[in-house]
Symmetry: C2
Subunit: 515 residues, 2 copies
């Protein structure tokens, strides 16, 4: 072995051997502290300047000295990142996370269990099944005997951990599809008759995406309008089902939403469950956002009926306050997932307890460690407090906005997301005709952009049909209040800033541009 080879071997031995805290570890920890205190939360940088910061480069021949890598993080990544955990960043479904999640991240990466197979994830396999059962009980409230029976039974699947809500929704729709078309997995959809999926117009776009992927076609999604509380119209739904039956369209699934992305509204799940039962339709609830409201005794009633859903999507990285990359689908019937079971002579053996047997994903990290840490280090009470605090903050802010002449509350804040808009003084007292709303739409989009560009705080915007305005498409400023670090002062400052920024927007120009 020559000298160079020896050096390389030495490097590898050090790099791959037992973990020790290094300069890099310490620097990263210091950076994290600084990052969270960064004032600029989500400045929208000029595209060209960002492109210049990250130009094309080949993979380097020789490894960088660690200090150069640190410099890259310090100069390029952190200053231009989005501070999603800031109490002033309240426009998306993000929040500060409990600090223990960072230690658990290290633990997961270090143990690097691959939960696709028992052989590469022994205790992690049982730990994951335990975590799923815990969450299943929260939402389905079955008996202790039920859980003791199914928790570790090879043929039972209480749920599947996956990378996010999209894969969870996809998994549930795959079950629904396979239930209706029993030959589909093997034979394909070539000679089948058309099937449709029913969901409110506020359904997440992952539903359409899943339908395209599953071969049932995104055009087969029938969206039902929402009422003045942004919930699915039950009457229209009933009529639609009747029409589908007349046209002999198969109904693959009915989807209820527990926490719409747009405004946090929750469909009347109990009524939906009843309809699904009467017509024998697969009933899925997308509770990616709202599932954990069940923690709160005060607000759990909002989810009444969720326990009748054939499957439920819930995201760990949303209101379970865990890092990105954790979704779950839960099943009422522990045998449902047999519909999507794969067997592979070589990889997943029939009799095994391997978690990969019924998951869309294959090799997969032990993200259930995050779930377990959340359940155990926060417990039901802290989760309840987090949910309640978010809803209280939301109600307070909505009440406050309601007292202001220059703001209009657009949606009823049922949970912790709501929409509102700024109304310039000159438009305050005139009727909101289609033209006025069009001008206000543009006005509020500009306002949102200005606030983002300033970078001190961030709310998002979205466009929804509102019954109040004859289902005109209305642009609303969107606030999501999940972080326990948000306080009244933060919220008032954000409103104050919007008011200031609004003064510089020329309404006359907007009218000219839309005329």
């Amino acid at each position: 072995m020559n000298k160079k080879d020896k050096e390389i071997n030495k490097f590898l031995a050090t790099a791959f051997k037992n973990y020790k805290r290094t300069t890099l570890s310490k620097k990263i920890e210091r950076m994290l502290g600084l990052y969270k205190r960064k004032k600029n939360v989500s400045k929208r940088y000029n595209q060209q300047s960002m492109e210049r910061l990250f130009p094309f480069k080949s993979i380097p021949e020789t490894n960088y000295p660690v200090k150069d890598y640190i410099i890259e993080l310090e100069r390029k990544i952190l200053p231009y990142g989005t501070n999603v955990s800031s109490p002033k960043f309240i426009g998306h479904m993000t929040s500060a996370l409990p600090n223990f999640t960072l230690d658990v991240a290290k633990l997961i990466a270090s143990l690097n269990q691959n939960v696709v197979k028992l052989e590469t994830a022994q205790s992690a396999t049982f730990y994951e099944r335990q975590a799923i059962a815990m969450l299943h009980e929260l939402l389905y409230s079955n008996t202790k005997e039920f859980y003791e029976k199914h928790i570790h039974q090879t043929n039972s699947t209480l749920g599947i951990v996956c990378s996010g809500g999209t894969i969870a929704n996809l998994t549930s729709l795959q079950c629904a599809r396979n239930l209706l078309y029993p030959q589909i997995e093997k034979k394909g959809l070539y000679n089948e008759s058309k099937g449709v999926v029913l969901c409110s117009e506020l359904g997440h776009y992952s539903i359409k995406k899943s339908m395209g992927l599953l071969g049932i076609g995104s055009d087969s999604l029938i969206t039902i309008p929402t009422d003045d509380q942004n919930k699915i119209c039950i009457d229209t739904l009933k009529k639609t089902i009747h029409e589908c039956q007349k046209k002999q369209l198969k109904i693959i699934a009915l989807i209820g939403i527990a926490g719409t992305t747009e405004c946090g509204s929750i469909d009347p799940l109990d009524a939906l469950a009843e309809i699904a039962e009467i017509h024998n339709i697969y009933f899925h609830v997308d509770a990616a956002w709202g599932g954990s409201i069940k923690f709160s005794e005060t607000y759990a009633y909002l989810l009444k009926g969720i326990e009748k859903a054939d499957s439920i999507t819930i995201d760990g990285h949303k209101q379970l306050y865990l890092p990105m990359g954790i979704g779950l689908v839960l099943f009422k019937d522990p045998k449902m997932a047999a519909l999507i079971e794969k067997q592979s002579e070589y990889i997943i053996r029939k009799t095994s307890i391997d978690l990969g047997k019924r998951s869309i994903e294959g090799s997969r990290p032990a993200h259930s460690f995050y779930l377990q840490a959340g359940f155990k280090l926060l417990g039901k009470k802290m989760y309840a407090r987090l949910i309640e605090k978010g809803i209280e903050n939301t109600n307070n802010m909505a009440d406050y906005l309601d007292t202001l002449d220059d703001f209009e509350l657009l949606t009823f804040p049922e949970t912790n997301i709501f929409l509102y808009r700024y109304i310039p003084e000159t438009l305050g007292n005139i009727p909101k005709t289609k033209t006025v709303n069009k001008a206000l739409n543009t006005f509020n989009k500009i306002l949102q952009k200005k606030q983002m560009e300033a970078g001190n705080s961030f709310v998002s915007y979205t466009t929804v049909p509102l019954k109040k305005y004859d289902r005109d498409l209305i642009v609303g400023l969107r606030i999501v209040l999940a972080s326990p670090l948000v306080n009244k002062t933060d919220l008032k400052l954000i409103i104050e800033e919007q008011r200031k920024l609004a003064k510089d927007i020329c309404l006359y120009q907007i009218y000219q541009s839309i005329a």
Copy 2:
């Protein structure tokens, strides 16, 4: 506010505020060191005893004290985990990982960027596109101008980061399907004529799984036999294509494998590319395992032709030596992914550079930080050395086994995976008839199980049709040598242990059981 609420608020403020190293951080770091030194690598525990360790429990009302959580990790998780990074755990596609990945894990969880949207991942969006371009260049070797043009262009997609090879293969097959059935995403597959996918019999099971999911049906997979080097038979492939054309079956895709799961063999990609071009078939290469062989100047020739693939799957968590949860699909044509583009009025806007526009997954962590860290802190040379060391180890071990009378090498070790089996002395010199092979299959399965149960070391087993034995299904012990920490002594000890364990297996009983 009462006293209890105050306490809760105080707890949350501490738990969610700036990260500081805590007792938990330090304990976890200590555990990691101990874990890596754990001798027992993958003991197969009794199912019942594992079930007792992880019984059903509700989510606790009140949060655990941190010390109880630590005790749970110390007593239940670590002792019964699989030591996938041990140099004695060489039966699966796992390896020790470079230590910096643990620090990066913490960084990713802390910044918690959601790369689905630019707004929630500003620098991370560009950093990810930069990482993808780097890897694209490694495999497709386009010009600098090509990369400078496409790296950040909104309508160009050089690749998509996803949670693993399964989603990567799914994405590529979705493209291939949509190319052939242009209306499919919207209209579904209801009235289309049947399409097939062609792949060698050693294709990964995610291909079948994807076909079931995509609605094209897993029965539509036509598997082509492999030759004596476990590569796809080109002649049979050509005949099959001819037959498909005669039957007017559409060919959705031809898939080449660069590193079969079973034995690491690499299909003749150049020949496959030529066939695909002649017949105008979408050509995908599943290089989840073998893609990074391109780093080695000595072995890159094995991948000749990969640059002609329409898409390539490569896994970060395999031979890029990164933690679980990172797959990629790369595209030759940067416009290919337009076939799977989703637009959502409310979430992903048309003109944006949002990474979620063309990915199957939605919200997603910034796992490209791992890719960047790997590229920069290891560089091409270290990656080349890792690849070469694995192949050298494999060749050495195969040579050694070849000198032993009681072992038979079953596959040619083209890369760093190979199959062999133990041959008891009494069967050494007799012809390997179907019955003898059947007995040897059982014998080697028992041997593998015994070694796993002992827990000192781990090799896996698999069953493949071998040309050498008239395509009889042969059980082979399977060794995967990716870890740079493996040395000759480890390998000799593993063989020695197998030899010892074999002495206790009764051949007579096996013959009786299969008779």
